[in-house]
């Protein structure tokens, strides 16, 4: 591990000042500490933000409010969340393991680094870790890699389940930092690799995620997160799909769809949403939405199967929410 100093911030102002001066925030540490031990991450100074009062989870008139330091398990067992946004609970309990969920914060979950094996070892070329060194995955083992949003520089899949649900639900992030407070969609937190795969998010130096807000929607209560993988727990998604749908009188009034395991960021399926909106619910609509979902997929040598799996997973997730008739 690279030597580092550690400071527990007592106040948000103090934390932001420290981070603006080059410190890195640490909350649960479930990603950062692993990567520090491999020296993939080499922060010189860690700012522990666990003492900041950002763990509250509550429902207000315009939506669900989740403090950035709430633990995954806090939110997963919160009855109010389960009632207004069951998709979020679904996505959380499908993620990681109980031990990790007890430690990992919501803000940290959104910023977790990719699982690409080549990124996580210093001795393999990786443009994300060492810009310009090359991508080992494109010509190597890439069955777990992305179909969408890739570039010739990086094909790593974004690993968060929660982020897929939040992107589907049009959740918004509140941040505070040296430049003041900001508010933007969770989807806008992420950057596709393009020419700069080492830049994964749009936060400014020192900017801290303080809160997630999830707007109420007529679709929210009929929602499922379907995660497909080779073992039943403690594995990242091979493919996952988040669906929230408002069906009235057999007609899809409003729908939110996003996919995980297939994109370099949480992958909103707006084309599929457009196919579904206003349609008669049922298998024909689900199949059309699934066909639209795989449009533009760019499979690699090892992950062709994910195209078909995504198609089937979209159909199944829609059936689970909207019925199989």
């Amino acid at each position: 591990m690279h030597p580092f100093s550690f400071h527990a911030a007592a106040t948000e102002q103090e934390a932001i000042a420290e981070a603006a001066a080059g410190g890195r925030y640490i909350a649960g540490g479930t990603t950062l500490v692993d990567l520090m031990r491999e020296e993939v991450e080499r922060p010189r100074r860690l700012i522990d933000i666990n003492r900041l009062p950002l763990r509250d989870v509550h429902v207000q008139d315009d939506g669900l409010v989740i403090g950035a330091l709430a633990r995954m398990s806090d939110v997963a067992r919160d009855p109010a969340t389960a009632q207004v946004q069951p998709l979020i609970v679904d996505a959380l309990v499908e993620g990681a393991s109980p031990q990790i969920r007890n430690m990992a914060s919501i803000g940290g979950n959104l910023l977790q680094r990719v699982r690409c094996s080549y990124f996580r070892t210093l001795d393999a070329p990786c443009n994300k870790r060492t810009p310009g060194s090359g991508c080992s995955a494109i010509g190597g083992a890439n069955s777990g890699h992305a179909l969408f949003g890739t570039s010739v520089h990086c094909v790593a899949t974004h690993p968060s389940d929660l982020a897929v649900a939040l992107v589907a639900l049009d959740a918004v992030i509140l941040t505070r930092g040296p430049g003041g407070a900001r508010r933007f969609p969770v989807e806008a937190l992420y950057r596709m690799p393009g020419e700069t795969p080492h830049l994964e998010h749009t936060l400014e130096p020192g900017e801290m995620i303080v809160e997630i807000r999830v707007p109420h929607g007529s679709y929210a209560r009929r929602a499922r997160y379907l995660k497909v993988r080779d073992r039943a727990s403690y594995e990242f998604a091979v493919v996952s799909v988040a669906v929230a749908m408002d069906i009235d009188g057999g007609i899809v009034r409003d729908v939110r769809l996003a996919a995980g395991g297939v994109g370099t960021m949480p992958w909103r399926l707006r084309g599929s949403e457009a196919v579904l909106t206003g349609r008669q619910s049922g298998r024909a609509a689900w199949r059309d939405a699934a066909e639209r979902a795989i449009d533009g997929a760019q499979p690699l040598v090892g992950n062709h199967f994910k195209v078909e799996l995504l198609r089937r997973t979209v159909v199944r997730a829609l059936e689970m929410v909207g019925g199989a008739a």
Partner: protein, 710 residues
């Protein structure tokens, strides 16, 4: 009179020590003034070290020394080859030259005051290579198949070319034929406890607290490497956090720990990281196997052809009994088994639970299932029609063979008679349900072992033997054996194991600990009791002036191996649920019925067998070391990426034992169950997947991808 304890489900005598942390594992034997060693591994898969720049690392805080081939002493590496070492080739020498033989080859070791400092300095080592392109897949261009030299004899556990009758002619003439090829991925053992060694030199005497399933051999091997008398090396390993065969051989990291300790003149602790567990501590070799079966319409086998190919390293020929069971598991006049190796630029494979049979019987038993389908015959009925009366490979009678009873007991418990034989015929809602079964066997052997019993003045006894306990419950089962032989209560017996200066024992593997060590423990205890001349030990010893009664004894094979074919047998039944669209497979339940001789402790035996069945789930559905074809890198070298079953993947498992009295195998009549526990599970699952889906997947593990694309 004390009731016998053999056969009772005693809880583990070391259970409390394990769950409270009192049990000490190798890495926990910290020594005063200890420093930490971290291995630096090659980042190319073949070639030579061109240059080592240790300048940055050397100057880092806490760094005590850095060893590479440039400054390490030349070690004697005297000839020494144990049963666990390949018969052909030479063990990996470390830091002796600039050669890189495989990805992750140890090329340097960094020693520092703390683990963090050592890891940090290891990451700062700059090593450049003259790299060549390695051959890392047995089906790659440039991979060459060879006949394993140690298997050329027509007898023995592994036979390169075995034939009886005229299998090719019989195959060609038969009415029903199956000819299929099965490919099983490379697997790594991945026990919870990593390999670890604490090395301490005192003059020319070396003490190693080291994870080992074979402490006696580890002492001899390290003595040979360093050119010191074997009695000057002491290996201590009282507890093992799982091993599955990965700690049978003494690997190069033990040498590196001892070398580092001698170089810096301080005790050294060396623990491999999880990633390093994928480099050079053995693996189950990938195998590609062709099985061709032919049968008459009544199901009787006319021909069995089993051609197995396994990967090995360039520097050693690891062999196991991949195709051996196909020559005797069924009655058949025409059989050919072949066994070939493909040397690759990889480290040497090694024994992994059920070595040989676990992979070979996947191929044989999946092919038998395919044949049953072709014959439209129940798979148990097909097997019953081919049940042999003797071992047709060598003509010997079986010491006992409870195969029929295993089929009957397992089928009854599983509810096999309710199976609809048609594929895709059974459902639970949307899910496809499949029921599959397979036979299993593993040889019951033993090797010379020794033990010493000591009856103390307080009337209790202690028994010393060099054996190991990697998890099956050796401490407990030996307690039962000793207690019965001494006519003591189990609470009055203490078993001490895991030291190389205790009476020597064979490796803790091959399902032979109870047969070998148990027989020696029993003999030593009976000898001590005979010396005492009674069982009222307190009075007897008081009359001797308080002097303990000590007796040592050995056990060895008799002539039973020449008179009998000795094997455990079993039948395994599995139910899977397959999502027909998403292609996920879950094992809902499984039943294993075993004929394994006398069961010393049914609680431990059940645990050992269900544990093996979990390993079989991994083999069937998950485990696979992904190798980068460009350089041999094990890509998924972490527990997040190398999948083994988690609790949610394990449905209801049941292990049953048929009553079996085998007076021939060994004095205890125990056949050993560690290996057969995993054998048969993977093919039972694969056959269940076929029954559920109608898709025959012959590449293992069977993952979503395979079912989507077949």
């Amino acid at each position: 009179m004390i009731d016998p304890s053999i056969g009772l489900p005693l809880p583990r005598v070391d259970g409390r020590a394990k769950v409270t942390g009192a049990a000490q594992y190798a890495a926990e034997f910290n020594q005063p003034n200890q420093v930490y060693a971290v291995v630096v591994n090659s980042t190319v898969g073949l070639g030579r070290i061109a240059a080592i720049d240790a300048a940055a690392a050397t100057g880092m805080p806490g760094v005590v020394a850095i060893l590479s081939h440039l400054n390490a002493p030349r070690l004697p590496y005297h000839e020494h080859r144990a049963f666990v070492d390949p018969a052909i080739g030479e063990r990996l020498h470390v830091l002796q030259d600039d050669q890189v033989r495989f990805f992750g080859h140890p090329v340097a070791v960094v020693i520092a005051e703390t683990l963090d400092q050592a890891e940090h300095a290891a990451a700062a080592m700059r090593i450049s290579y003259a790299a060549e392109t390695p051959v890392v897949r047995l089906d790659a261009p440039g991979a060459v198949m060879i006949v394993p030299d140690a298997a050329r004899k027509p007898s023995g556990r592994t036979i390169a070319d075995g034939v009886r009758g005229d299998p090719d002619a019989a195959f060609a003439q038969a009415t029903h034929q199956i000819d299929a090829t099965y490919d099983i991925a490379r697997e790594h053992h991945n026990p919870m406890e990593p390999h670890a060694t604490v090395a301490l030199w005192d003059g020319d005497h070396l003490t190693l607290w080291s994870k080992s399933q074979f402490v006696v051999n580890e002492a001899i091997e390290i003595a040979a490497v360093f050119g010191v008398p074997a009695e000057q090396v002491l290996v201590i390993c009282p507890f093992i956090g799982g091993a599955f065969g990965a700690a049978l051989r003494t690997w190069s990291h033990v040498t590196l720990a001892a070398l580092a300790a001698r170089h810096v003149g301080r005790p050294v602790k060396l623990v491999l990281s999880r990633r390093q567990m994928f480099y050079a501590v053995g693996h189950r070799p990938r195998t590609v196997q062709r099985v061709a079966l032919a049968a008459a319409p009544d199901g009787r086998l006319a021909a069995i052809i089993h051609e197995g190919t396994a990967e090995t390293s360039r520097y050693e020929q690891y062999i196991d009994a991949l195709t051996t069971a196909s020559a005797f598991l069924y009655a058949c006049p025409n059989v050919r088994t072949t066994y070939r190796l493909v040397p690759l630029d990889s480290s040497t494979p090694t024994f992994m639970r059920g070595p040989g049979e676990a992979s070979g019987i996947v191929a044989l038993e999946c092919a038998m299932d395919e044949l049953a389908v072709a014959l439209a015959m129940d798979p148990i009925e097909l097997r019953l029609r081919n049940e042999p009366t003797v071992n047709e490979q060598n003509g010997l009678p079986f010491s006992s063979r409870s195969m029929r009873a295993c089929y009957a007991l397992g089928a009854a418990r599983f509810g096999w008679e309710r199976r609809d034989p048609r594929p895709r015929s059974m459902h639970d809602g949307r899910l496809l349900i499949g029921w599959g079964m397979a036979a299993a066997t593993y040889p019951s052997s033993r090797a010379p072992a020794n033990a010493r019993a000591r009856i103390l003045a307080d009337g209790t006894a202690e028994v010393e033997t060099a054996a190991s306990d990697m998890g099956p419950g050796t401490y407990t089962s030996m307690t039962q054996v000793a207690a019965d032989a001494l006519e003591l209560a189990p609470a009055d017996v203490r078993i001490r194991i895991g030291r190389s200066d205790f009476p020597p024992t064979p490796p803790h593997g091959g399902s032979m600990t109870m047969a070998s060590v148990g027989s020696a423990v029993q003999a030593a205890c009976l000898a001590a009791r005979a010396l005492a001349g009674g069982t009222n030990y307190r009075d007897i010893i008081a009359r001797r002036g308080g002097e303990p009664i000590v007796a040592a004894a050995s056990s060895a094979r008799g002539d039973e191996q020449r008179r009998f074919s000795m094997n455990a047998f079993g039948a395994v039944f599995a139910e899977v649920a397959v999502d027909p669209d998403l292609c996920t497979v879950r094992v809902r339940r499984a039943v294993g019925a075993y004929g394994a001789g006398r069961i010393i402790n049914p609680r431990l035996a059940r645990s050992q067998c269900t544990g093996g069945m979990v390993g079989g789930i991994g083999m069937a559905l998950m485990e696979q070391t992904v190798v980068d074809t460009r350089d041999g890198r094990p890509v998924n070298a972490s527990m997040a990426d190398y999948l083994v079953p988690v609790n949610l993947d394990v449905g209801s498992l049941d292990a049953l034992f048929v009553d079996e009295d085998d007076p021939y195998v060994n004095p205890l009549g125990a056949k050993g169950i560690g290996e057969i526990a995993i054998v048969g599970m993977a093919p039972a699952i694969a056959n269940a997947v076929f029954h559920a889906t109608g898709q025959r997947v012959r590449d293992f593990p069977i993952r979503i991808e395979a079912l989507l694309s077949t």
